[in-house]
């Protein structure tokens, strides 16, 4: 009897999970590379697939709210991923991380490609295609998310960059590795940064969400203060949509590390838009993630970097900065004021409820830990 009940319960759960959202169908999403992760409303996971040139929305049924009280670090994430995947810790490579704002479960796009990371300038998507989605739940349990049959929707990006185009300075790579670099949902839009096949390759796609027709692509250029020139082929590495002086802006950070603002309203289909470079945060660095957090009632922007500390930017300072960087920066930094916080080697960063952020961070021991930080620290 008990068994029958259990079975009925299980069936009921499966049935609930399979109530499809409009535009979703149930099956195996054919994701070739999990290049970037993010979240849409209602716990829907967004997966940018650079290799396919498409964005997937996965309804994993992960909608049970969880409040975080004094969250604990998860130690040695790579060792646990290795144990889960039956591999060695030196093999596993985390490509991107996103936290579910409802359940606070942490999702990682993972491959077994770390052996290919032979230079400090290589990024995970340069050396391997992430094919495994791993969930870390509130009890720090690791599991592989089974994508054999899930409700999903797919939006193709028009004109992703040709896989045959050689990377300008990474030997042996094609620019296809940067087709999708970062994605972010805001107000019914999934913004996707990457490279398209246009003459000016740096592109921001605007994908209506829930997915619908009318995906737009705008090519971008901006001044790189460290390089002393305008560039059109470097993709935005991290960005947020944020209102500045009442106008919706895309705040974008690039390799070497200019901070650029784009008027979101000007990002129209097939247009080429020049952004305003408002800061230069230092060359020799990839900005890896950018999030908005609130501390003591004030919203600020937190940027994680490959080779620099965590940076805090106050949107009020961007608003107050009327200038624009249009010539080579003589020193190392310039423009909008920012603060730094200790926390080196943060490789992934996301919000973790309202009171915390969570960082995937390489410690001095070499261990990769998932560490929550109170926003009060920032």
């Amino acid at each position: 009897m008990k068994k029958v009940l259990l079975l009925a319960l299980a069936t009921g759960l499966a049935g609930a999970a399979q109530a499809e959202k409009p535009g979703f169908k149930t099956g195996r999403p054919e994701i070739l590379s999990m290049s970037a992760l993010g979240f849409a409303p209602e716990g829907v996971l967004l997966v940018g697939d650079g290799k396919s040139g498409a964005v997937f929305a996965l309804d994993l049924g992960d909608t049970t709210p969880r409040e975080l009280k004094d969250p604990k670090p998860v130690t040695d994430v790579e060792a646990k991923l290795a144990a889960l995947l039956g591999a060695t810790p030196a093999d596993v490579l985390v490509h991107d991380m996103a936290t579910n704002p409802i359940s606070k479960n942490v999702y990682l796009a993972v491959s077994r490609g770390r052996a290919g990371m032979s230079s400090q300038w290589l990024l995970p998507n340069d050396v391997a295609d992430a094919s495994v989605l791993v969930r870390i739940d509130g009890d720090a349990r690791f599991s592989v998310v089974d994508l054999a049959s899930v409700p999903f929707a797919r939006a193709a990006l028009p004109n992703p960059i040709d896989p045959g185009k050689k990377h300008a300075w990474k030997e042996g790579l094609t620019q296809r590795v940067d087709t999708i670099v970062h994605l972010s949902h805001a107000n019914g839009v999934v913004w996707v940064s990457g490279l398209s096949n246009e003459e000016f390759a740096a592109t921001l796609w605007r994908v209506p969400y829930p997915f619908a027709a009318g995906v737009t692509a705008t090519t971008l250029e901006n001044y790189h203060g460290a390089h002393g020139k305008y560039e059109t082929d470097a993709p935005i590495r991290a960005f947020v949509q944020y209102p500045i002086a009442g106008r919706s802006e895309i705040l974008a950070a690039y390799l070497c590390t200019p901070l650029v603002t784009f008027d979101a309203g000007a990002l129209q289909d097939k247009k080429h838009v020049r952004g305003r470079t408002v800061a230069e945060f230092g060359s020799g660095n990839y900005p890896v993630d950018m999030i908005v957090y609130k501390n003591e009632g004030r919203e600020k922007i937190l940027i994680a970097n490959s080779n620099l500390p965590l940076m805090i930017v106050d949107p009020k300072d961007i608003e107050a900065f009327k200038g624009e960087i249009t010539s080579e920066v003589p020193g190392y930094t310039a423009g909008v004021h920012y603060e730094v916080r200790s926390s080196g080697s943060v490789q992934q960063l996301d919000n973790y409820g309202d009171a915390h952020v969570v960082a995937l961070q390489r410690l001095m021991s070499g261990r990769l830990d998932l560490t929550p930080y109170s926003v009060r620290r920032f």
Partner: protein
């Protein structure tokens, strides 16, 4: 009532390369097996678990996979194949419980080999800067420093001979490993060299050994030690002479261009810093052969030579085995006059317009002048 004697259940592992990997509990009594039929996936998953390592830690995740009851037993199929060289432990929570630690079978297919060592000659200047190892297939870069050794004639390993690069300096295909002799020990008058001396000494013999444990990218190991023996001779402290480059222009539109070099040059750089240009300045595509102990460079064009002018281009950064460039010594007196600024060298040859009027320059006879002026 006496229970019938239970047949001993056991854990079996299937981990051959190319086949489906699985861990199976076989031989369990029928009544136990029938009990499995009613269990859901999580419950089955708790019956048979696989961990990495010999003794799973308390918060160690189990290896991802699925457990199902088959006609003969309980079968775990890992989500990803087991990795050769890694140890796993399967735990069956039955009565009695079972436990088996295993390694995946090494994959089949060809065993990796060292196909060449450069410099390929048996006599190397004692200030040789680089050694290259070429392998038959992509290799596993990790821990390469544990498997590659430079030994003296008594079989003792020379410590700190090469620049220590974690996981080695590999090409993108991971078939070519570059070993750089510590420049600090080659250059005269700086601390490491003063203290330790150069690793190689003229008149002595050495062996570059790659031990049998080095694995390829799929986990196959060499299986046999590889050794390349050579003798160190006097240091090479002069730049290669441009006038020593001798070019034999191709004798027919399909014949290769043969270039004799003034001395053995660095094999790696010969692929990049010596090339053939057509009159439009584009590099001519073709296939290179480097032989005679890196003293001969032969270029077979992809398509037959078209009538017109060509130039053999040589970048002055091309080095001999001791790192001496065409335009600069690797190790020179700083007090001496600064070297001339680098410039590229070009040696022209060509085919006149018209069928079979060949060649117009070069040849095995008189040397073409170096440095040649760039193409007009």
């Amino acid at each position: 009532m006496l229970a019938s004697p239970a047949r001993a259940a056991e854990i079996r592992v299937a981990s051959a390369a190319g086949a489906a990997h699985a861990v199976t509990v076989v031989g369990a009594p029928a009544e136990v097996r029938s009990g499995w039929a009613g269990l859901d996936a999580p419950a089955l998953g708790r019956r048979l678990q696989v961990f990495t390592g010999d003794a799973p830690g308390p918060d160690q995740p189990t290896v991802a996979g699925a457990v199902r009851a088959t006609e003969t037993g309980l079968e775990f199929r890992p989500l990803f194949p087991f990795v050769s060289g890694l140890r796993y432990t399967a735990v069956y929570a039955g009565d009695p419980p079972l436990r088996l630690t295993f390694e995946a079978e090494p994959p089949g297919g060809p065993v990796p080999r060292v196909v060449s060592v450069f410099p390929s000659g048996g006599r190397l200047p004692e200030n040789t800067l680089r050694l290259y190892l070429a392998f038959s297939q992509p290799m596993e870069p990790r821990d390469v420093e544990r498997h590659v050794h430079l030994l003296d004639d008594a079989g003792r390993e020379l410590e700190l001979a090469f620049v220590e690069i974690p996981h080695g300096l590999w090409d993108a295909a991971r078939t070519r490993l570059t070993l750089i002799v510590h420049p600090g020990r080659l250059k005269r008058g700086i601390a490491p060299g003063e203290r330790l001396g150069a690793p190689l000494r003229a008149g002595r013999s050495y062996a570059l050994r790659v031990d049998a444990g080095l694995r390829d990218a799929t986990g196959r190991s060499l299986g046999l030690d590889f050794e390349h023996r050579f003798e160190a001779v006097a240091a090479d402290r002069s730049s290669p002479r441009p006038e020593g480059v001798m070019l034999a222009a191709p004798g027919s539109p399909t014949a290769p261009l043969v270039v004799d070099l003034p001395e053995a040059l660095d094999e790696g750089l010969l692929h990049r810093l010596l090339w053939v240009e057509a009159a439009d300045g584009e590099a001519v595509p073709g296939r290179l052969t480097i032989d005679r102990e890196e003293r001969r460079w032969t270029f077979a064009p992809e398509r037959p030579w078209a009538p017109g002018a060509y130039a053999l281009r040589l970048h002055p950064a091309l080095e001999d085995r001791a790192g001496n460039r065409f335009d600069r010594l690797f190790d020179r007196e700083l007090a001496a006059a600064a070297p001339e600024p680098a410039r590229e060298l070009a040696l022209r040859f060509g085919f006149e317009v018209g069928p079979c009027r060949l060649p117009s320059a070069g040849g095995r006879g008189p040397r073409a002048p170096w440095p040649g002026s760039p193409r007009a």
